[in-house]
């Protein structure tokens, strides 16, 4: 028991140290600032600028969050405050299934539905020429993928808001929506922020689905209809060919390290927001 436990407890440190050790080669040669802010990515010439990938990842993640947050918030309010109890029982399997669908299947769906939709309808309608494989397509697929996570946390949070508080507001003559707006949302705000933060961390590290629809062009995107590249996609796409160049290997490990740090940081931060709901 203790051996298993210590194995698990030290896993994050182990992950961090191994990845740090592997990317040390690159960090020593270039320095953190140059790696993150340099635009030029030419591994064969020994130039490793992660800026396009970092920006691509940030665009995709933020857009996905922007799409899914309002949808999740409204749905969570709906199923916990307005809809009948029975409806929540229908919603649970829906959330489970959405969360269970593998990312590759989301990717397939993105290629089948979202990419053609953007290239055939949305792009021409806005007068923009686009392949369909774009930041927007990735963000849209991603936003669907993180809906179950965000929605689940939000529903749990809304359930913890005491009934007395809501009844007090209603008995003072407020309408239901006023109660939701001034009592429920205010009381649940830290939880909502945490839910979004968890979603953000998850979206940032998502690999396959994004890789399949984002276009994979190493360029700093200028519009959401441009193809882009994300950090996880960079690792997944290039692993086969790196063994010959030690610096390249180190570069991909650096990308993994960045992902690890971002994910740990966001999860840590959000736990402080959520801890007041005495989840622990």
């Amino acid at each position: 028991m203790l051996i298993s436990l210590s194995l698990v407890a030290f896993l994050p440190f182990l992950l961090f140290s191994v990845l740090y050790f592997k990317s040390f080669l690159l960090l020593r040669d270039f320095g953190l600032g140059q790696l993150i802010f340099s635009h030029s990515w030419h591994p064969s010439r020994g130039e490793f600028g992660f800026y396009p990938f970092i920006i691509g990842s940030i665009w995709v993640t933020l857009l996905a969050i922007l799409i899914s947050t309002p949808i999740c918030l409204l749905t969570a309010i709906n199923v916990t405050q307005y809809a009948r109890k029975r409806f929540l029982r229908i919603m649970h399997p829906v959330i489970d299934i959405l969360a269970g669908i593998p990312s590759v299947v989301y990717g397939v769906w993105g290629i089948l539905v979202i990419v053609p939709f953007i290239s055939r309808y949305l792009g021409p309608w806005l007068g923009i020429k686009t392949m369909g494989y774009s930041i927007l397509a990735a963000a849209f697929v991603l936003s669907i993928m993180i809906i179950p996570f965000i929605l689940n946390i939000m529903i749990e949070i809304f359930k913890t808001i005491p009934m007395e508080l809501k009844e007090a507001a209603l008995s003072l003559g407020s309408t239901k929506w006023q109660m939701v707006k001034h009592v429920l949302l205010r009381k649940a705000l830290p939880g909502i922020i945490a839910a979004v933060g968890f979603g953000l961390a998850r979206a940032f590290g998502e690999t396959m689905a994004v890789l399949m629809v984002v276009g994979n062009v190493v360029k700093v995107p200028t519009s959401v209809f441009d193809p882009g590249y994300t950090l996880p996609a960079l690792i997944a796409n290039n692993y086969g060919e790196v063994l010959s160049i030690p610096q390249y290997d180190s570069a991909l490990m650096f990308a993994a390290l960045l992902l690890l740090v971002v994910s740990l940081f966001f999860n840590l931060l959000m736990h402080f927001f959520i801890s007041r709901y005495n989840k622990y």
Binding site: M1, V105, W109, A201, F204, T207, Y239, M253
Partner: protein, 285 residues
């Protein structure tokens, strides 16, 4: 004033219903498009044979290698994660019972690990693999996926085990049993349904994840026959077939996606059904 309130409430109610409908609709569209595309391309031959020569140019063969490979890998990883995970979950709830700070710290670390993207596990697994001189193989894939599903397994079991009432614990102690007996005889039996759900949930994760097996399990056209050889997996087979320029091969990717989705749906149905069934053995307070 009154009217503005009414309009505002009505507006948001419409938006709420739209969002809820949107989520239900999206799920429907995903399932529908995967089924619609997949049903066209799927055939008995695809499910029961391995790729023959020229398969990736649209000739005969199937994806049995990937189906069997994925199953083997996911089973192996789930069993391994269960063997490591159950003791941890029991330890937290039985031996550390009452040490709230420490337990919270462990739960916190587990949640942190849960949040780490699977591609990071993939990169980590690959590094370990190179370090010990292992090739891409079933074994390396199993180890990586085990690490990846471990937090999911432990935390889901933990959530169930912590609901075991203190009264039951005290009753067991008063009958003279020790902690191990309490853990393995009482806690496990009381939580069978939850443990099954945890195992199936982890299995679903294990079989659906591609990023962690991308560099560790490799890919092969053969059925797995040794721990030391590469193994094909369904997510990767979908991914590879989809990137082919040949339309027939792409069609097969859709069929493979259908197979994977059906497996996931079955697993999720099972976990609901079994969870309900074993609920009966539970003592209710």
């Amino acid at each position: 004033m009154k009217r503005r309130l009414k309009v505002e409430e009505a507006f948001f109610r419409v938006m709420m219903n739209l969002s809820t409908a949107f989520i239900l609709l999206i799920l429907g569209v995903i399932i529908y498009s995967v089924f619609e595309k997949g049903m066209k391309a799927i055939s008995w031959e695809m499910l029961t044979s391995i790729p023959s020569g020229g398969y990736y140019y649209g000739k005969g063969g199937g994806i049995l290698n990937a189906i069997v490979g994925s199953m083997t890998l996911a089973f192996g990883a789930t069993i391994l994660a269960f063997l490591i995970g159950l003791p941890v979950a029991l330890y937290i709830n039985v031996f550390l019972h009452g040490k709230k700070k420490l337990v919270n710290l462990i739960r916190f670390i587990l949640d942190l690990i849960w949040g780490i993207p699977s591609i990071v596990y993939g990169a980590f697994g690959f590094t370990l693999m190179v370090l010990v001189g292992l090739q891409t193989s079933l074994l390396a894939g199993i180890i990586t996926v085990t690490l990846f599903i471990l937090p999911i397994m432990i935390r889901s079991m933990d959530e169930i085990l912590r609901t075991v009432p203190d009264g039951l614990m005290e009753a067991t102690y008063s009958l003279g049993s020790n902690k191990s007996e309490l853990a393995f005889k009482i806690f496990t039996r009381q939580s069978v349904s939850g443990i099954i759900t945890a195992v199936l949930l982890s299995f679903g994760r294990a079989i659906g994840d591609a990023a962690s097996v991308l560099f560790t399990a490799g890919y092969t056209d053969n059925l797995p026959n040794s721990l030391m050889e590469p193994v094909a997996t369904l997510p990767l087979s979908i991914f590879f077939q989809l990137s082919s320029p040949v339309p027939e091969v792409q069609e097969r990717a859709y069929a493979s996606a259908l197979v994977l989705t059906v497996i996931i749906l079955i697993v999720s149905l099972f976990s609901r059904g079994l969870g309900k069934r074993y609920h009966k053995t539970k003592i209710n307070f």
